[in-house]
Symmetry: C2
Subunit: 122 residues, 2 copies
DNA sequence: AATAATACCTCAGGTTTTGATGTATCAATT
DNA sequence: AATTGATACATCAAAACCTGAGGTATTATT
């Protein structure tokens, strides 16, 4: 049966993650200079102790969109016989990363104001 | 031109708020026992110092959906000649509110792990 | 030889939101 | 008396994003 159960279904099941993927990508690239898609999925899994799993069906379109928006550049490299697409931030992408991080801070701030029993994640 | 510019366009412009509306509704109802739609929009504006504006085109469908899911009950009351639909949490809705709050905590935790320069909103 | 991991991809269908628009009542102003 | 603004509900097409499924192919492990 080839590879039917390739992923054990990442299940974040919460709608809250919608809209956060591009920020995650941008921020990881800010820290790591250049990364390829699969590497991003592994990094996210690693840094969240396996709790957050990026769906590849969301990741690749998101990368393509960020590239189309001029926030990322891509460089294809052959590793063995396999192609890798390394992504890196453009200048515009760096600026946008800063903006998006501010947006996240605002989001958390607003959530705290609304759900006041505090989120307390210092 | 009647009331063309009725709202100065709430503009939260960030995609991050996607998926958070139902939690906001649930939580406000947990705190306030019963509220009607328009009251919710005002409360959110008030508690976030006008920074977060709920789009009515999102709010009403969200309320209807929560009701359809059995998380809210509705009671119509006439105020003067105008109808108000008061919403309140069901038992199931209370439980769900707890779950959704946990999901938000997890979301913030994961974002903190990924964007480690910390969110620090104690 | 088969499986698992690496590495890219697409696409139908789902959910949620945006932005525009519609209707109507009531209070305040002109 | 008439208009505006606030209150209060609603719908809907299009946009945005994601899920879950599927596809292809290489390399490493069992």
């Amino acid at each position: 049966m080839y590879q039917l159960l390739r992923y054990i279904c990442g299940m974040n099941n919460s709608q809250l993650y919608k809209g956060s993927l591009s920020l995650i990508i941008l921020k990881l690239l800010e820290e790591n200079k250049r990364m390829y898609g699969y590497e991003i999925t592994q990094k996210v899994k690693e840094q969240t102790n396996g709790e957050l799993v990026i769906n590849e069906g969301a990741l690749y379109p998101a990368l393509h969109k960020l590239e189309a928006e001029g926030l990322l550049t891509v460089t294809i490299e052959q590793v063995g016989n396999r192609p890798r697409k390394y992504y890196a931030l453009t200048e515009k992408g760096e600026a946008e990363t800063t903006n998006r991080l501010e947006e996240l801070t605002d989001f958390v701030k607003h959530m705290q104001l609304l759900l006041n029993p505090k989120l307390s994640l210092g």
